[in-house]
């Protein structure tokens, strides 16, 4: 690990470089002009609104970051995109949903349900349930759909992953119907309430759910960092990511490590799913699909295979997606378009991402 050899198997082609530069100048000029228009020439929003957008973006970004880490962990080890990761998150969200429903129905006294009597325990239980469901799903996903395909041509596991994603999504649709379920939070965590802060002429609400989301995701990320850097399992994971054959020769159970990687990424996805439910309030059978793609975008943005990159990329994407429509002056319906455009732009200009781990042709 001391010296990193940079492999340039792909020689950049001249014209492509020029296209990159011209497009780059064009994009940045347009962005600067829009920023000037929106902020100075014709200020459309006050500082309170901007702050609200930014807070929304950070909260959303921390959820994306958790999902993105799941992509990155798996990619770092198997060099494949776990396409069904978003659907694993959806299953976790449903796990948390059912815990809340069950605890809400469980009465402690005549008027008080367990959910409102013990909100802390309820939330912890919901997170645990979501993580358990998602990690189980991730484990079996790997075991059934990916493990038998090790060493097959790259397209084969990818198609299998797409199939698994379709399967999970439709299984959830058939089980839970197409309805959008309302996440019944404990009363203290009602959506929309929080600390009111005066900014300029208006007030900004820092919601409790948002704070919970950020705090939990930071805690989980710290835990993951310690796991990867300090434990035997983490060392084994890094070894397998570096070179499977050598790791196997060193006595590491490669298949077992891959399984555990899927379990860990499932845990993160489950937590993200429960956060999604608590903060945004609706779960349905394809709730994981769009966040899944966006989290992948975040992982690419940060440099796929790099864990800090995925965290940064997630936060960045959340903020950009939240501020983007206002800055560009387009409809808020089109915020998904912004996320996907970022993906395309990153892949044109810097396929290695922000914290660029080198993507040699072998990996891309």
């Amino acid at each position: 690990m001391q010296q990193k050899t940079v492999v340039h198997t792909h020689k950049p082609i001249g014209t492509y470089r020029y296209v990159q530069i011209i497009l780059g100048i064009f994009f940045s000029a347009y962005l600067l002009w829009r920023l000037y228009t929106v902020l100075i020439a014709h200020p459309a929003y006050g500082p309170d609104t901007w702050m609200r957008f930014a807070i929304d973006g950070i909260v959303l970004g921390s959820v994306y970051a958790l999902i993105a880490i799941g992509y990155t962990l798996v990619y770092g080890i198997l060099f494949m995109i776990n396409f069904a990761h978003g659907d694993v998150m959806m299953l976790g969200a449903f796990g948390g949903y059912f815990v809340f429903e069950a605890l809400g129905a469980f009465k402690v006294s005549s008027s008080l349900s367990f959910l409102n009597a013990q909100p802390v325990i309820s939330v912890i239980l919901a997170f645990l349930a979501g993580m358990a469901v998602s990690s189980t799903a991730g484990y079996f996903l790997e075991k059934i759909a990916y493990r038998p395909l090790r060493g097959a041509p790259r397209l084969v596991p990818l198609i299998s992953a797409v199939g698994a994603s379709i399967f999970l999504e439709n299984a959830a649709q058939l089980l839970f119907s197409t309805q959008r379920w309302d996440y019944a939070n404990p009363a203290v965590l009602n959506r929309g309430i929080g600390w009111n802060i005066r900014v300029g002429q208006g007030t900004v609400v820092i919601t409790y759910t948002g704070v919970l989301t950020i705090v939990v995701s930071v805690l989980i990320m710290i835990g993951l960092y310690l796991l990867v850097k300090r434990t035997r399992l983490g060392r084994a994971m890094r070894a397998v990511a570096e070179n499977k054959t050598t790791a196997a020769l060193m006595g590491i159970d490669v298949d077992g490590i891959i399984s555990r990687t899927f379990i860990i990424s499932g845990v993160l996805a489950g937590a993200a799913g429960v956060m999604w439910g608590i903060h945004l309030g609706l779960v349905y059978y394809y709730v994981g699909f769009i966040p899944g793609i966006k989290a992948f975008t975040a992982a690419v943005l940060g440099g796929i295979g790099s864990i800090p990159g995925a965290m940064l990329g997630g936060l960045f994407l959340g903020v950009v997606e939240s501020l983007g429509p206002a800055v560009l002056g387009i409809s808020f319906q089109l915020k998904d378009v912004i996320a996907f455009s970022i993906l395309v732009i990153v892949l044109i200009f810097r396929p290695t991402g922000i914290l660029g781990e080198v993507l040699s042709e072998e990996k891309v």
Binding site: A152, R154, I159, A171, L174, F176, D336, V364
Partner: protein, 528 residues
């Protein structure tokens, strides 16, 4: 013995979960209905003393239980397995299967009796479905019944498996079919027809005549269905070039379909622009625009391979879908309402706007596209695509201009989709954002994969199975997409080359699945 029992437990748990899942998604009820229609069983049910639905359910569960038994007794490496071990394994599988299903029955049955409405959370757990599953018994005896029933079926399955695998009868049956097939392919007349050109022309002539006459005979509904399948064949053939020949996984394929459809709709419809052009003029425009979009999408993703490409194209498909759904473009594309009264083609004063007319048009399109695909595949371009698919670096080293050929694959694939879209919009006389969701991409992908990547008969067959079969089995409509997902995974696991693979593709996949290759591939992945 221990290993047999463990196999049995594994199979029992797997099948228990499968049966519970099938029950939870309501599949057991649907399949019972379907079996009921199939068996026409007023009489047989009364003989056996079951109400109709229950009998059909039991027939279905009988097969599942047998399968569990067969699967539980499998995978025993020693050759001389005795009846005892087989029955022990399959019996364990059946017992575990029965206990899991019985547990579910007990739980669901007692919840129903307690008056808990489970439909609130699980849409398919209707009281009727549960009553059917309980077979009119109460929860406890129903659970016991299932334990015994599934244990019995498991044992039967094990016995059947043992007989087929080792008994003289099973060997004979399998051998008989094999011999017959070999006899047929070696049949002198068959061989002579295969290599006799005039005879082939006669056969093809009869086939073409049949195809021409068929739309006249079929009714409105069937013509429409055949037309839909035909459009999916068009799409499949286009995707086949991108995925099957050039090896680039494109998940946003529906975007090009939408571009073709919207081009013809906006140019011929009276509503948003009042251009009212002729259909024939818009066909090439739609195709060219789709091809152009293919190139535009292709340029940024050219340097990417496999997985990245899949996500970027997926994102592109989503962008198109979001744009079509949003209100931003209402003035231009009609927004969420879509475009109505799309023009239909006329030829020498005869309107082709009938279902039969469109069947002919689509057939013409399919034949054209097949012709182009065959010519391209057997040309320098086709070989270049296959080289790129196998190894891009090597292909470049061989002097192939990979940029040009990848863009060409994208453009041609998109053009075919554009043609499909043009016909689709004109046939429906309407186009709206709902028609171009992601499921279209996945449907087409599934038909390409199932049929066999790169193989033209495979794509045609795949489109017929995946799009035509669900039209026939209307009851199973709900489970179609679920089955697609499962099918993609299962195909990759057991037959990645597809059902009707090209001979070259088959060789490639077989080669890579070789154990030596596997080890070699494992090492190359992890070097940074």
């Amino acid at each position: 013995m221990k290993r047999h029992i463990r196999n049995g437990i594994n199979a029992g748990i797997t099948f228990g979960i499968i049966t519970i899942f099938l029950f939870m998604i309501g599949f057991t009820t649907t399949i019972s209905d379907l079996l009921g229609q199939l068996l026409q069983n007023g009489s047989s049910a009364s003989v056996l003393g079951f109400a109709p639905g229950r009998f059909d359910l039991l027939v279905f569960l009988f097969f599942i239980g047998m399968w569990a038994g067969i699967s539980g007794s499998k995978k025993t490496p020693d050759e001389r397995e005795s009846w005892g071990t087989v029955l022990a394994a399959s019996g364990t599988a059946g017992l575990i299967h029965g206990i899991l299903v019985g547990g579910l029955v007990l739980l669901v049955g007692s919840l129903l009796k307690a008056g808990v409405s489970m439909t609130v959370y699980f849409a398919q757990l209707l009281p009727d479905a549960i009553h059917l599953f309980l077979l009119g018994l109460n929860a406890t005896s129903g659970a016991l019944f299932y334990v015994v029933f599934l244990l019995m079926t498991g044992l039967i399955g094990g016995a059947v498996a043992r007989t087929i695998r080792y008994g003289a009868l099973g060997q004979n049956i399998a051998g008989w079919f094999k011999n017959k097939w070999h006899a047929f392919t070696a049949w002198p007349q068959y061989q002579r027809i295969r290599h006799n050109r005039p005879a082939l022309f006669v056969v093809y002539g009869i086939l073409i005549l049949l195809v021409i006459l068929l739309p006249q005979v079929l009714g409105q509904y069937w013509n429409y269905t055949v037309g839909t399948v035909g459009i999916y064949v068009l799409l499949g053939l286009g995707l086949n070039i991108v995925v099957g020949l050039a090896g680039m996984l494109d998940l946003g394929y529906v975007a090009f379909f939408a571009i073709g459809a919207y081009t013809v709709a906006l140019l011929t419809a009276p509503a948003p622009h009042h251009l009212m052009w002729s259909f024939w003029v818009t066909v090439p425009i739609g195709i060219l625009l789709a091809a152009f979009a293919g190139i535009v999408l292709g340029i940024p993703v050219l340097r990417l391979r496999g997985d990245y490409l899949a996500i970027v194209t997926l994102g592109f498909g989503q962008i198109i879908a979001v744009l079509l759904h949003s209100d931003e473009l209402t003035a231009f594309t009609g927004g969420p309402k879509g475009v109505a009264a799309v023009g239909s083609p006329t030829l020498f004063g005869i309107s082709l706007g009938t279902p039969e007319g469109f069947v002919y048009l689509i057939l013409l399109g399919v034949v054209l596209v097949i012709f182009v695909t065959i010519r391209l595949r057997n040309s320098r371009v086709g070989r270049a695509w296959e080289a790129i698919r196998e190894d891009e670096t090597v292909a470049r080293a061989m002097g192939i201009n990979t940029w040009f050929h990848k863009l060409l694959a994208f453009a041609i694939g998109a053009a075919f989709a554009g043609l499909g879209g043009v016909i689709f919009a004109s046939r429906n006389q309407f186009t709206g954002p709902e028609d171009y969701n992601l499921m279209v991409s996945f449907n087409v992908l599934a038909s390409v994969i199932v049929g066999g990547m790169g193989s033209i008969p495979g794509v045609v067959g795949g489109a017929f199975t995946l799009k035509g079969l669900p039209e026939v089995l209307r009851e199973l409509e709900n489970y179609r997409v679920l089955a697609f997902g499962a099918l993609l995974v299962v195909m990759m696991l057991i037959r990645p080359e597809g059902l009707l693979p090209t001979s070259r593709r088959k060789m490639e996949i077989k080669e890579i699945h070789d154990p030596d290759e596997k080890a070699a591939n494992g090492t190359s992945g992890g070097t940074t």
